[in-house]
């Protein structure tokens, strides 16, 4: 496959006017978002702004109420997690969802095991897991046959990310992958996020940490009370502006119209 690195390529994933309500409470209001291959898009916003809701809508866990999701320019309907996985969209949830009692290989292939007849093909799975981790330059794992319960937080995050990458994933969404990690482990995960994009994946990276965001991201999308305040290249904004976008929905001439940001 080719790796589209070119500036200004077309988005692999695009949201147009996405609405989402839980009962009477509307959480997402006409959200637009563009996600490009080979780029890290940081999704930022205050607590409760709707970031997790947005990615769960994309993943099919909370299907959208209104608006459109386009994949590779084509409108798609995502009504469940299987739909998004079939499109090549993998989500690494904040709680990771790994089975502690299984080893790294077993977790990476969970639900999609390779078989010879009815017998699990351990050899080929172990090889593929090892190759994937090696390509991601993951060097901190002692053994791919280690139980996940024996891994550190950063290593678990790494396994969860590698699991997403193992499949023909085009878009990888990471919900606060560094929230619980120390300095060194955050470093490893950020490097991994960068490498994912450099190998052609479209990456959506949710974080509250501005240092991390500015370090790895190419674009930044700021949600403010369920509305997309800005979706711009990161080079066009500075840290102060991003913080204003997060807390007030606008900064200078970018962001939501004054009416919107003041009314709410």
């Amino acid at each position: 496959m080719t790796v589209p690195h070119a500036e200004g390529g077309s988005p692999i994933l695009e949201l147009r006017g996405v609405d989402k309500s839980f009962g009477a409470v509307q959480v997402l209001h006409g959200v637009d978002l563009k996600v490009y291959p080979g780029k890290v898009t940081a999704l930022v916003g205050d607590n409760g702004a709707g970031k997790s809701t947005l990615i769960k809508s994309i993943a099919g866990i909370h299907p959208i109420d209104g608006g459109q999701i386009l994949f590779d320019g084509q409108p798609v309907s995502i009504t469940g997690p299987r739909d998004s996985a079939a499109l090549g969209l993998e989500v690494v949830y904040q709680d990771l969802a790994l089975a502690d009692n299984l080893d790294v290989v077993q977790n990476m292939f969970l639900g999609r095991e390779r078989k010879h007849g009815i017998v699990l093909d351990e050899a080929s799975m172990e090889q593929a897991a090892r190759d994937t981790l090696a390509k991601l330059s993951v060097r901190t794992l002692k053994s791919v046959r280690q139980l996940v319960s024996s891994l550190s937080g950063g290593q678990r995050q790494t396994v969860a990310i590698a699991k997403a990458v193992l499949w023909e994933s085009k878009v990888v969404i990471l919900d606060e992958p560094t929230a619980a990690l120390g300095v060194a482990q955050t470093r490893q995960v950020l490097d991994l996020v960068r490498r994912l994009a450099d190998t052609g994946h479209a990456v959506v990276f949710i974080s509250h940490n501005m240092v991390d965001v500015f370090e790895v991201s190419d674009r930044i999308a700021a949600l403010y009370l369920g509305r997309m305040a800005a979706d711009v290249p990161i080079s066009t904004v500075d840290r102060g502006q991003v913080i204003e976008l997060i807390t007030a929905g606008r900064s200078g001439d970018i962001g939501l119209a004054p009416a919107v940001s003041e009314v709410v």
């Binding site: 999609r112 994937t132 981790l133 330059s137 060097r139 053994s143 193992l166």
Partner: protein, 428 residues
């Protein structure tokens, strides 16, 4: 199809970096294996250690207390026949415990299934295989019912099976009739525990089992080695084969010795129940360790939310496990009926369940789900049978027998809980 990552030059920074997975290579040495084992013990995964210790210590203890009777071929054969129904029931319960569930009705289910086949034999004159099939189907249907209540309706398995524990005793009573005892006269079913494989055939079988095990182990080792996968050193693999060979040969020698009390008759050979247990051990071990179904059972027990997000139908897995376990209860019920040559309304009641759960837990299966193997049922079943048999030889009073056996289960559960705490503490 493994991945669509295209390696680019910046993926190999410096070129001098370690290749990673050093552990996979260091585990290939004997020292690495020993270190890995000690690490696992420290991490709270005791594996077969408590059961093996239990077998050794209890054997020595009862041998010291009853030197003339405990280690005779006759008593060892009795002990193994005693262990068979416990082990078979526990082989099913291991699956339930792996999910983190419990089946308190497993014992009485074995009673219901045995009662159904006993009545078919006695009243309808059905051939043995119809009776066996009927028991298995009864077990599977009961498992479907229990599993549906647990997995689909969402009632905790503890409550469902506690209710069924009572209800199924009523069913057995209805099938057998008040105060009744249905004798088992069918020679094939009685033969499970009362007839023996001819000595020569027994040795041949033992040799075949050892050869098959050796070939499988060595083959697997060769494949792993040739593909550069995680593998154990050859000496460990060979050591395991030798250990299994010694156990099988010693057991065969004991069972093939003449154990008759009088010199006038000959009583020797392996009871047919043993190959039944061995075959089921192999089949279930294969199912749990080498198939998707087994892998998914572990996943559901370890983290059911992760399993769900991986696209595994947790409900289906749980129902299937209950069906499998209740079918094993049926097999256990048949072997128990063969041993006692009858089925009564009390069959499968009393301490049947406690023995089987005890066997699984002593063998190393966790009550918290996610950890356990089929062989745990065999090792733990032997421990329980040794206790039961030994206390019988010592003629301890019934009350003490209950207290001791209950205490052993509590001890095993405490070891399990402490191991789990230890594992949790080690993680943070």
């Amino acid at each position: 199809m493994a991945s669509n990552i295209v390696p680019t030059s910046d993926l190999e920074p410096g070129g001098a970096a370690p290749s990673g997975f050093e552990g996979d290579r260091s585990a290939g040495s004997l020292g690495g294996v020993v270190r890995g084992y000690v690490d696992r013990l420290r991490g709270g995964d005791l594996g077969a250690l408590p059961a093996v210790l239990g077998i050794v210590v209890l054997t020595l203890l009862f041998y010291a207390l009853r030197p003339e009777t405990f280690l005779t071929p006759l008593n060892i054969t009795n002990l193994i026949i005693q262990a068979a129904p416990i082990t078979l029931l526990a082989m099913g319960l291991v699956w339930i415990l792996l999910l983190g569930d419990i089946d308190l009705s497993a014992g009485v289910v074995s009673g219901v299934c045995a009662a159904v086949s006993a009545q078919l034999l006695a009243q309808q004159g059905a051939p043995w295989w119809v009776a066996v099939l009927a028991a298995l189907v009864t077990g599977a249907v009961i498992g479907l019912f229990t599993g549906t209540l647990v997995a689909l309706i969402g009632i905790p398995s503890f409550v469902v099976t506690l209710a069924l524990f009572l209800a199924f005793q009523g069913v057995t009573l209805r099938v057998i009739g008040q105060g009744g005892t249905v004798p088992i006269r069918d020679e094939t079913i009685r033969g499970l525990t009362n007839s023996y494989i001819p000595v020569g055939a027994g040795w041949a079988l033992a040799a075949a089992v050892i050869a098959a095990y050796a070939v499988l182990q060595l083959n697997r080792w060769r494949t792993q080695r040739s593909k550069g996968l995680d593998s154990q050193p050859l000496i460990v693999v060979v050591g395991r084969i030798v250990l299994i060979a010694v156990i099988v040969l010693v057991l065969t020698a004991i069972l093939n010795a003449d154990r008759a009390l009088s010199r006038a008759v000959e009583l020797q050979g392996i009871p047919y129940a043993i190959p039944v247990v061995v075959v089921l051990l192999l089949v279930l071990t294969f199912l749990l360790g080498r198939t998707t179904f087994g892998r998914h059972v572990y996943a559901v027990g370890g983290n059911s939310e992760a399993a769900r997000r991986a696209g595994i139908s947790v409900t289906r897995i749980r129902i299937m496990v209950f069906m499998l376990s209740s079918s094993m209860a049926a097999v256990s019920g048949l072997v128990a009926a063969a041993r006692l040559s009858s089925v009564t309304p009390g069959s499968g009641g009393g301490n049947t369940l406690l023995y089987a759960v005890g066997a699984a837990v002593i063998g190393g299966t966790s009550l918290f789900g996610g950890r356990g193997r089929i062989r745990d049922a065999v090792l733990g079943g032997l421990v329980i049978a040794i206790i039961d048999n030994g206390l019988g030889l010592l003629q301890v009073s019934a009350y003490l027998n209950y207290i001791i056996t209950g205490g052993v289960l509590l001890l095993a559960a405490s070891v399990d809980a402490l191991a789990r705490r230890r594992a949790a503490a080690g993680k943070s």
